[in-house]
């Protein structure tokens, strides 16, 4: 790897902000050069710090867990679709190290405030929120915000900052806020961290970690800069990328439809999660196969994350006077899990469910699989109506009540807040919860593509759609190669998440190419594609080691029995056992899924592996 220029810092700020909430202590450290060198930023840095500083045996909801907000060298630099931030911690849902990614303006503002990383430790004695205005970092009491939903919390914080800091309209408009709703406060194990009016670091329950720290929200407003090593070269590279995006129509397509084009593709490939994964095709979604229909129905405006020319986000509004505001989404995952998978076929209902989850601060995917699990338990007669207080068959809008009960831990919601395995077990059927490592399976039915089943089962944080993208692009559908591609794709995303590049835009080798190119112009450091590939693999193996320390093993690389034994889609099941053997070989792991000494040596992780393998 090329030498790192630390004397004049480009891309990175070189500073890490640490906040000990127990002692109300705030201090700034230099970001260790080896982190920039070997892990770049984002997920790589965040997970490395979790590995080094958070004992794998701790309770994720205890004060020993740390909550890390990580930006990358490209965050705020203007590199297209590269201004997201990562939140890392040990997950209370899957017990894995997890690193959900979130868009919006918060990441860029954290960077402009002058920090690569923001690390929370300990637990505040009473609810607090934190404000970061460049080097002015303060902890404020948040007792009056506790219990508020996500949007009112953001609104209240803006009002207080206007008063306390004498900020004008423009400054308030520019800042980024990350917060939790009631679900995070009540330690719902699949609570998400919400940001900027409906964006989420959603999967794996880090909202509960934030809640366990009594940290209601944080707001960042930065007026500093990101230094670019070669501004002229960078401008030219970005302009070339823009020309490509315009000429190919990719900008237009993404902006026009976002993820709304996917229900059509899911139905066409019989991979639309429907009625708790009992089917791969939704009759009710046929009317939304044309994205123009959805667009005409609910769209208010196209909404981009900071620095993103694609703007796949959509603000939407429904006609129901009870939901007067505009809201973010719903994205395809939400439409599928809270919609088709719960038997809802009306866009207004789906928007209501999405709006509820966003305001309560819950992961729409795991919440969707929880509800669909409850619906199937109810229909099969395992879950008595008296426990729920109302009937709950597929498509029943009583699910809105249930979502609120989960977030507030009322009635049966208290049990459901503990996750699908605890809930299913209580009623004798844990196998009806469609989850992996406790996390709900995303929208695409794994039986439609073997590759998808393998990808979900082996994902380091649980059933996640954001840790590999197969089989959604050309050249990756050949079954002879998909195990190899699964491994490569997971490494590519680990690397892209460390950049931080948006995983929805770039595909496969393009990540390495773009990251390498932009890192060159922004940071002045040359990293070859091979080095970046190795970095992705290193991150993935490090996460695997942490999970093993945390007690996970090969038996957790599984799929619900419905996927491996009941042919629901295309009359086939996922032959997971066979695929795992091949996958472990590609990974250079032994037959029990343990990284071998040789592999760790190759990745420079020998020390980390000691005592684990």
């Amino acid at each position: 790897m090329g030498g790192l220029r630390t004397s004049a810092m480009f891309g990175w700020t070189g500073k890490t902000l640490r906040i000990d909430l127990s002692r109300e202590k705030i201090w700034v450290e230099a970001t260790p050069p080896y982190l920039m060198h070997e892990y770049i930023g984002g997920r790589g840095m965040g997970d490395r710090i979790v590995f080094d500083e958070v004992d794998a045996s701790i309770d994720p909801l205890g004060p020993e867990n740390k909550l890390i907000f990580a930006t990358g060298p490209l965050t705020g630099s203007g590199a297209p679709a590269a201004s997201r931030f990562i939140v890392s911690a040990k997950s209370p849902l899957s017990q894995c190290v997890s690193s959900p990614c979130c868009g919006g303006y918060f990441g860029a503002n954290l960077k402009y405030s002058g920090y690569d990383l923001l690390i929370f430790e300990g637990r505040a004695p009473a609810p607090v929120y934190v404000t970061i205005l460049n080097d002015r970092v303060e902890i404020h009491p948040a007792g009056h915000l506790w219990g508020k939903e996500a949007s009112p919390t953001e609104h209240a914080i803006r009002q207080e900052m206007k008063k306390d800091y004498n900020l004008d309209l423009w400054a308030l408009n520019s800042m980024g806020i990350a917060d939790i709703g009631p679900a995070g406060e009540n330690l719902v194990r699949f609570a998400s961290i919400m940001s900027d009016g409906g964006r989420a670091a959603g999967r794996s329950g880090l909202g509960a970690v934030m809640g366990s720290k009594n940290l209601k929200a944080l707001a960042a407003l930065g007026t500093g800069q990101v230094r670019i090593a070669d501004p002229e070269g960078f401008c030219k590279a970005v302009m070339d990328f823009y020309k490509e995006g315009r000429d190919s129509g990719e900008f237009y397509k993404r902006r026009r439809f976002g993820t709304w084009g996917l229900p059509g593709r899911a139905n066409a490939s019989k991979s639309q999660a429907t009625n708790n994964f009992r089917a791969g095709y939704s009759e009710a979604f046929v009317k939304y196969e044309d994205p123009e229909v959805t667009r005409a129905l609910i769209r208010v405006r196209d909404e981009a994350c900071f620095s993103c020319p694609f703007s796949c986000g959509k603000r939407s509004r429904i006609k129901d006077p009870d939901y007067p505001l505009t809201a973010k989404g719903p994205e395809h995952e939400t439409m599928a899990l809270l919609g088709a998978n719960c038997g809802l076929g009306d866009m207004e209902d789906i928007c209501r469910a999405n709006y509820l989850c966003n305001e309560l601060g819950m992961d729409t995917i795991t919440a969707g699989t929880m509800i669909s699990c409850a619906m199937e338990l109810f229909e099969e007669g395992h879950l008595p109506e008296k426990d729920l207080g109302f009937p709950l068959g597929f498509g029943n809008t009583n699910m809105f009540k249930l979502l609120k009960m989960i977030a507030h831990r009322q009635g049966i919601g208290d049990l459901m807040a503990e996750g699908g395995i605890a809930f299913g077990s209580r009623y004798g059927h844990p196998e009806l919860f469609m989850g992996i490592k406790g996390m709900g399976i995303p929208a695409w039915h794994p039986q439609a593509f073997d590759a998808l089943g393998l990808q979900y089962a082996t994902c380091v944080t649980g059933g996640s759609h954001t840790k590999a993208t197969m089989p959604f692009y050309e050249g990756r559908k050949d079954p002879a190669f998909f195990v190899e591609f699964t491994k490569k794709d997971q490494d590519y995303i680990a690397m892209a998440d460390s950049g931080v590049l948006c995983w929805i835009i770039y595909h496969g080798p393009l990540w390495a190419e773009k990251l390498s190119e932009w890192l060159h112009y922004v940071t002045g450091n040359d990293q070859t594609k091979e080095e970046l590939d190795r970095l992705g693999e290193r991150v993935w193996n490090l996460e695997r080691l942490y999970n093993m320390k945390s007690g996970l093993s090969m038996k957790d690389d599984n799929l619900p029995p419905r996927i491996t034994t009941e042919p629901r889609v295309k009359n086939r099941v996922v032959p997971l056992d066979k695929l795992l053997v091949e996958y472990y070989q590609w990974r250079g792991w032994d037959e029990r899924g343990v990284p071998t000494r040789e592999k760790l040596k190759e990745l420079g992780l020998e020390k980390e592996g000691a005592g684990v393998i």
Partner: protein, 132 residues
């Protein structure tokens, strides 16, 4: 020549701010940009810095965009004593748009992916009554 703004198309990605800051300062800092995007729920409003004014307005008003009331300060292009934008953050020196030189080649227009900003001849479209 002028820069035409179509707020209905703007997505709020703020690449124009970055383009402006890069072109004028060589670093990336939206707070040094001469164009700023105001992000709203219904739409976003890119506003380009105009002339400096020494005095703050006595009266404050609102302007209506697509049926939504917008604070007049938001759409006012002036760098003025009561606003934090269109000033160098460190020195307070007021900023205004220079169309990136002569002949005009505004970088914000180049970097606007949805093409909410476009460079047009004055007579191409009748000038509407501008707010602020």
């Amino acid at each position: 020549m002028r820069i035409r703004i179509d707020h209905k198309i703007c997505t709020g990605c703020k690449q124009c701010e970055i383009a402006c800051s890069l072109a004028h300062t060589g670093s990336v800092n939206p707070w040094r940009a001469r164009i700023r995007v105001f992000v709203g729920e219904e739409f976003c409003l890119p506003v380009i810095a105009g002339p400096y004014t020494e005095a703050a307005c006595n009266s404050k008003g609102t302007r209506v965009f697509d049926g939504v009331d917008v604070d007049a300060c938001v759409v006012c292009r002036a760098s003025c004593p009561v606003k934090s934008v269109y000033k160098e953050p460190d020195t307070g020196i007021p900023l205004k748009c220079d169309f990136c030189g002569d002949p005009p080649n505004p970088q914000c227009v180049q970097w606007c992916a949805p093409q909410a900003l476009s460079l047009i001849e004055d007579e191409q479209e009748p000038r509407k009554e501008k707010a602020g």
